[in-house]
């Protein structure tokens, strides 16, 4: 589904990603862990096409297409989704108008008619229940005045609405209390099928108790320095990142 080869990227002239290699197949959950500043969020930003970052080398193929050649909106239409670490507040734009625009632009991309108002509201209702998002929140402006937990639930709600093939969850556990974490994880697990995949970016093992990864990768100084099964997350939780750093004095 996703094949990243030797991906390099920089921001303001500083190279952050220094040759990432990663393959994700349908039905898989990959966890990317790593110390602060290792490039985890840069990877998600580059994959979704954030214009603040410049790709300086490598390739990314997503379902047979050159991902890096697509605009952010077309990447979304092709089935890529990012749950933001810091979801953006958009005063004055209602959740309803925001989601309607998103859904209908995707339908347009595939040559389909816009969804009728009734069908759209039915879909909103249905997907809202997955993350227990209150109707009141759904009628407010996008993320405006939402608590940290509400913002993250709203991200998973949008994911449910858009039914992506590949979801990147960037630090979705940060700022969540244990109950909100359960709700968010439940939402992600409910949406998991044999045909979609997820990349879970996190600092801590905690989220991985709820969302079970098939693979765990350690990102350090812009490179994936270790990949293994779920047991690696437990080892990291126990030993921290120092032993990884010691293994790579050259970086």
């Amino acid at each position: 589904m996703l094949e990243i080869k030797d991906l390099r990227a920089s921001v303001e002239g500083k190279e952050i990603l220094k040759g990432i290699n990663l393959t994700v197949n349908a039905g898989e959950v990959h966890a990317i862990m790593g110390p602060n500043g290792s490039g985890k969020s840069t990877l998600s930003a580059v994959l979704t096409g954030n214009p603040a970052f410049t790709v300086t080398g490598g390739s990314v193929v997503f379902n047979g297409k050159d991902l890096l050649a697509l605009s952010p909106e077309d990447r979304a239409h092709e089935g890529l989704f990012l749950s933001f670490q810091y979801p953006v507040e958009i005063p004055g734009v209602s959740m309803v108008n925001f989601m309607r625009a998103a859904i209908n632009e995707k339908r347009k991309y595939f040559g389909e008619e816009p969804l009728s108002a009734a069908d759209f509201l039915k879909l909103m209702r249905e997907k809202r229940s997955i993350v227990q998002l209150d109707n009141k929140l759904a009628s407010r402006a996008v993320n405006e005045g939402f608590s940290g937990g509400e913002k993250k639930r709203n991200e998973i709600f949008q994911m449910a609405m858009l039914e992506p093939k590949l979801s990147i969850l960037d630090e979705t556990d940060s700022g969540l209390d244990i109950d909100a974490l359960r709700i968010v994880a439940h939402g992600v697990n409910t949406l998991k099928t044999a045909n979609n995949a997820s990349i879970v970016i996190t600092h801590y093992q905690r989220l991985l108790d709820y969302i079970k990864p098939d693979f765990v990768h350690v990102l350090y100084k812009g490179r994936i320095v270790m990949s293994a099964g779920p047991e690696l997350a437990l080892e990291l939780e126990e030993k921290g990142y120092d032993w990884i750093k010691e293994m790579h004095p050259e970086l």
Partner: protein, 456 residues
């Protein structure tokens, strides 16, 4: 020759004709206007409060003035459809600056509310014209004196004491002359004690390649306890200029809302002069400007608190795109011995392109200690983070920009105290941002409304 001189010469030449067509109350104002124009010059760009706008240049082209009251045919059916749907209004048409009595949807004759052209009022209510016309208009402003010198008709709206005008009164101004023309438009609104009225004025231009100039003077008198809502919507063309002066006088306990909306235009200068003369009066001064291409929109406000314990709220928002220019200069004056005045002024602007320009000048001048006043002005760009967030959800960059611009002006639209107009404005601004408001080069808004019918 200065821009003014050509019109003064015109007046000298046709004085008798002008006076013959116009009501006495208007003719009575002319000598003073004429005197005021002796040696006067229109402000040029760079003059105080004209930092961005050159009135001399706006008046310089050789516009015709319809001295002989030649009738033009107006495609009123087309414009009529631009009307605000779901809003039942009493409708009054001005074709260029000629009142069209045959096309109006008037008040029931038993209704005590008076809505008449000045020429009609000369016959039926001459005392109202004599008592109120010209009492607020400041002839030291050359553009106001010029309008007073050449105007031949106008609309009188009078709401007697304690009466509520149930229906909104709508004035539709249409430009459709085949030659460059200056229309001299004039509106007088008098809400007597405890009277209530809502007025919606719409400017339309039906021919897009002819130059027009709309010279407008509006006087609004709100007596004790009266409520007046005045909405002024401009939807014209790149070749239409507009110089408008709106004067408001508020007595004790009155509540006035003035909302100036520029959706499409060429060059526009709107002046708002508000005198708050009675205690416990409330003023809402709102403005929304959407400008693209080479549009030019300049709003200047002067709000004077002359009495204690009054409230005023002023908010102007601009979205400036392409090479367009926006300007705002607003001043709030609180005179001595006016305690407990609460006045707020805000001006928020988005420059949506790197070539758009915005000038802003907020001013407070306060001579009383015990008051709450504040002002704020900001010029910025669309939020890049929000744009990217929306794009990751599949919303195209263009659509994301529309949604953000729409969101930006939404609180000014929410200030509209007329539900049907609010809905209509949301619709019009959406069309405006998506670029479909100006599709038809005869009457963009008419084309726009025919699309509406299909959607229904």
């Amino acid at each position: 020759m200065s821009a003014l001189q050509q019109y003064i010469d015109l007046y000298n030449e046709h004085r008798a004709d002008l006076n013959g067509h116009a009501p006495d109350a208007l003719n009575a104002l002319r000598p003073e206007a004429f005197a005021a124009l002796q040696g006067a010059v229109l402000p040029k760009r760079g003059t105080e409060d004209y930092e961005a706008t050159d009135l001399e240049a706006i008046f310089a082209p050789d516009y015709g003035v319809n001295i002989n009251r030649v009738a033009f045919s107006a495609d009123q059916a087309g414009t009529f459809r631009c009307d605000v749907p779901n809003l039942s209004t009493c409708l009054y048409f001005f074709n260029n600056d000629i009142f069209m009595p045959g096309r109006t949807a008037r008040m029931n004759p038993n209704n005590p509310v008076v809505v008449e052209s000045f020429v009609e009022a000369q016959q039926r209510h001459p005392q109202l014209l004599k008592q109120y016309l010209g009492t607020l208009a400041d002839l030291s402003k050359p553009e106001v004196a010029l309008n007073t010198l050449l105007a031949q008709d106008g609309l009188l709206i009078y709401i007697p004491k304690g009466v509520t005008a149930e229906k909104t009164i709508q004035v539709v101004n249409i430009f459709n002359a085949s030659q460059p023309l200056m229309a001299m438009r004039r509106v007088l609104i008098v809400a007597d004690e405890d009277a209530h009225v809502r007025v919606l004025a719409c400017d339309h231009t039906q021919i897009s390649d002819v130059q027009y100039l709309n010279s407008q003077v509006v006087e609004i008198i709100a007596k004790r306890g009266a409520t007046v809502d005045y909405y002024d919507l401009e939807e014209s063309t790149a070749h239409t200029s507009r110089v408008s002066s709106i004067f408001v006088d508020q007595a004790e306990g009155s509540n006035v809302l003035v909302d100036g909306i520029t959706l499409l235009n060429g060059r526009t200068r709107n002046d708002y002069y508000v005198q708050v003369n009675g205690e416990h009066a409330e003023t809402h001064l709102l403005g929304m400007t959407i400008a693209s291409g080479t549009q030019h929109v300049d709003n200047h406000t002067f709000l004077s608190h002359n009495a204690p314990r009054c409230k005023s709220n002023e908010m102007f928002k601009y979205v400036i795109n392409d090479e367009a220019v926006g300007a705002f200069a607003g001043k709030i004056l609180v005179k001595p011995d006016c305690p407990r005045v609460e006045a707020y002024q805000g001006n928020r602007n988005i420059c949506a392109s790197s070539t758009a320009k915005m000038y802003t000048k907020p001013q407070l001048e306060i001579y009383t200690d015990d008051v709450k006043c504040s002002h704020g002005a900001a010029v910025g760009q669309l939020d890049e983070e929000a744009l990217f967030y929306m794009r990751t959800r599949g919303i195209s960059e263009a659509e994301a920009r529309h949604l953000l611009m729409q969101a930006f002006v939404s609180d000014v639209i929410d200030g509209v105290r007329l539900e049907a107009l609010k809905d209509r404005l949301y619709h019009l601004t959406e069309k405006r941002f998506s670029g479909t408001l100006s599709l038809c080069n005869v009457c963009g808004s008419a084309a726009d409304c025919s699309k509406l019918d299909i959607i229904k």
